[in-house]
């Protein structure tokens, strides 16, 4: 008798569990779509404020270069940019307004989303520049200019110039207009970051013609097959930079 009731009890338990699964299933399916069937519960849906300009996959507007590409840039770098806009170190009204209310956690999640996007790179137009200018650009990017304490770009941004995880962005695949305007904005103090702000120092050591030369040579480069940022620790930066913590080994 006891054994029978135990069996019955067991059968009821098993049946009950299955019933439970059956009952819960539709709710589970609903929960995935929550809180509204037409509104997907995805980060992509949540960040419409970002993707409206930068593209659903962070592709930016390569034709005009006006809205920069975010896809594939290292997450630490992207998080830092949001924080710099929030703190007013980088100055661009619409971005400062948009980043204003974000928490560090949400900024990081958004940065991870764009960092993980793999979108093909496209080429953008170059201004007509002399071979001598391009040669000067190549010299600065690959060797720097020790007479003016300008390190090579590749010393931090990686031998392939595709950036280094997690904080250093790539330089190849960017439009001429974007690179030259960023270097310019360090000089006009509309772009800054935590001290010591290495790029501020470097941009101010470059002459205006150097900025054109560097931007043009970088924008003219054939793209390496692997555009991903190199692994963390693959460079030893020659400067102490606030954005890199204490990873530099001296100025």
């Amino acid at each position: 008798m006891k054994a029978l009731s135990a069996k019955l009890w067991l059968a009821r338990r098993v049946l009950g569990a299955w019933m439970g699964v059956l009952i819960l299933l539709p709710f589970g399916a609903l929960a995935q779509d929550a809180p509204h069937p037409d509104i997907p519960d995805t980060l992509q849906q949540r960040i419409a404020a970002c993707t409206a300009c930068h593209g659903v996959h962070g592709e930016g507007t390569p034709e005009s270069g006006f809205f920069p590409r975010l896809a594939g840039k290292p997450a630490g770098y992207l998080t830092r940019q949001l924080k710099d806009f929030q703190d007013g170190l980088r100055k661009y009204g619409p971005m400062e307004y948009t980043a204003r209310q974000l928490s560090p956690e949400y900024m990081h999640e958004i940065a991870e989303y764009f960092a993980a996007q793999d979108v093909p790179y496209s080429r953008s137009p170059l201004p007509p520049l002399s071979p001598a200018t391009l040669k000067r650009g190549e010299e600065l990017v690959t060797h720097g200019d020790s007479s003016r304490e300008i390190p090579a770009c590749s010393a931090c941004h990686g031998t392939q110039l595709t950036g280094v995880q997690p904080d250093i962005p790539g330089l190849v695949g960017l439009p001429y207009d974007y690179i030259s305007s960023q270097l310019g904005s360090w000089r006009t103090k509309t772009r800054a970051t935590v001290a010591p702000d290495c790029m501020n120092d470097i941009a101010n050591r470059l002459s205006e013609s150097d900025i054109s030369a560097v931007s043009a040579w970088l924008a003219s480069r054939e793209l390496p097959a692997d555009m991903h940022a190199q692994p963390a620790g693959s460079v030893t930066p020659p400067l102490h930079c606030g954005v890199l913590g204490d990873k530099g080994d001296g100025a």
């Binding site: 419409a48 404020a49 009204g93 619409p94 974000l102």
Partner: protein
């Protein structure tokens, strides 16, 4: 010309103010006048209470520069009279409140007077803070004195003549400032009184949610009736939940939800209110939020504003607006304008859509953005900015459509209203 008139008026008012106040002139308080000892100020329970109250008062919001050290000052507050930087209120001896006694602090908070008897500019909302009790002020002072001292000198005042003359404030105070702690209304519940105390005092809600006149004075009657925030150009809506009120139909829970999470079934906080929610109200205790909601629900009904009939034929504007709405807005806010519960706010019956100026709806369409990120809503859904995508004409049309559809009957907005608000407010 306007400035000359202002100078003459202020000179006359200053004279009369001096006459009114001549018997009340105060001497600077000497340190020995303070009865509060060092030991009192070090009491951890008092400091904890003060931290909470400083959060309720949102002191850090003005007294912290973007990206700066909390409470070390430096944020520049724009006013129609010029820019006024908020001072450092950390206990640094040279640049902050290091040398201050509690009596000095009380005189500033309660009477709007600096340590040396100088009159303070009312951008520091002592018109509200005067209602704070002495006990609460002591707790806030103890908390501020417990902060790490940060050396950061005040930025120079950006005020031109005649506003740079502090004594002109005597006249201003005679007109707009009534000194005195909050007096409980014994005919009301304790909860109502707590709410009134928080809303009128530390919360200083009326500093934004009331119209200001040309001298920058806040009209206190009726209180919390809504107004345009000078220089920031956002409209802080009327807070009455009763007939014709800006929050007509809001339940107690709707108010609590908005203050605690940044969004409610009726609307979402944005612009300056997003900052208030993020920095202040989301951290408030449930019973205090409930008390504020109870008080706000007791605000009286408002006088109905007669619907203005436009002399223009609005049909083409509404047709243009409807087209833009269906293409750009309806996917999230719904064809019925009712939004998606917990995700996208309703536009139908939304106080910020229907506020008299139309500024809020114009700016939200242009700027988009995120609601405040709070513990209750850590990953909010955002809205795309349409500044780059829509012309002034399309923005005016879609905002007019939204303001005149479903149950909404607000005035139309013009292209020139859009042009005026195309710049992005940052501070």
């Amino acid at each position: 010309m306007k400035r000359v008139i202002a100078i003459v008026i202020l000179a006359l008012l200053a004279l009369s103010g001096w006459w009114l106040f001549r018997t009340q002139a105060r001497q600077p308080v000497s340190p020995s006048a303070s009865e509060v000892t060092e030991v009192t100020l070090k009491d951890p329970a008092l400091i904890a209470k003060g931290e909470y109250l400083a959060t309720v008062g949102d002191c850090a919001s003005c007294h912290t520069e973007r990206g700066g050290v909390r409470y070390a000052g430096g944020r520049v507050l724009p006013t129609p009279f010029g820019n006024i930087p908020a001072p450092n209120i950390t206990p640094d001896r040279d640049t902050g409140l290091g040398g201050w006694s509690f009596e000095d602090f009380w005189q500033a908070l309660h009477s709007g007077m600096g340590r040396h008897g100088e009159l303070l500019y009312p951008v520091f909302s002592y018109t509200s803070f005067t209602k704070v009790t002495r006990d609460d002020a002591l707790a806030i002072f103890a908390y501020l004195q417990s902060l790490p001292a940060t050396k950061q000198a005040a930025k120079p005042l950006g005020l031109g003549f005649p506003y740079s003359v502090r004594n002109s404030l005597k006249a201003w105070r005679a007109l707009y400032f009534q000194e005195g702690e909050y007096q409980p209304d014994t005919s009301k519940s304790d909860e109502w009184n707590r709410g009134a105390y928080l809303v009128q005092g530390l919360g200083h809600c009326n500093e934004c949610h009331a119209p200001r006149d040309s001298l920058g004075g806040s009209q206190s009657k009726p209180s919390l009736a809504g107004g345009q925030i000078p220089s920031q150009n956002w409209y802080a809506p009327d807070l009455s939940t009763q007939a014709n009120g800006g929050l007509q139909g809001w339940s107690k829970q709707d108010i609590i939800d908005l203050l605690k999470t940044g969004q409610s079934a009726r609307g979402t906080a944005f612009g300056p209110m997003a900052e208030v929610v993020q920095q202040s109200t989301q951290h408030m205790r449930d019973e205090d939020l409930r008390a504020m909601a109870t008080y706000l629900q007791s605000l009286p009904p408002r006088v109905a504003v007669a619907e203005q009939k436009s002399p223009l034929d609005t049909r083409p504007i509404l047709a243009q607006g409807a087209k833009v709405y269906m293409e750009r807005c309806a996917d999230c806010h719904g064809k019925d304008g009712n939004g998606v519960a917990g995700v996208y706010p309703p536009l139908n019956g939304n106080s910020s859509v229907n506020e008299p100026s139309g500024i809020n709806a114009i700016r939200v369409v242009l700027l988009g953005g995120f609601p405040p990120v709070t513990k209750g809503n850590p990953r909010p859904y955002s809205m795309p900015p349409f500044a780059q995508q829509l012309s002034d004409s399309d923005v005016a049309a879609v905002v007019t459509y939204i303001r005149q559809s479903w149950s909404n009957h607000a005035s139309l907005v013009m292209e020139r209203d859009v042009v005026k608000n195309r710049h992005t407010p940052i501070d």
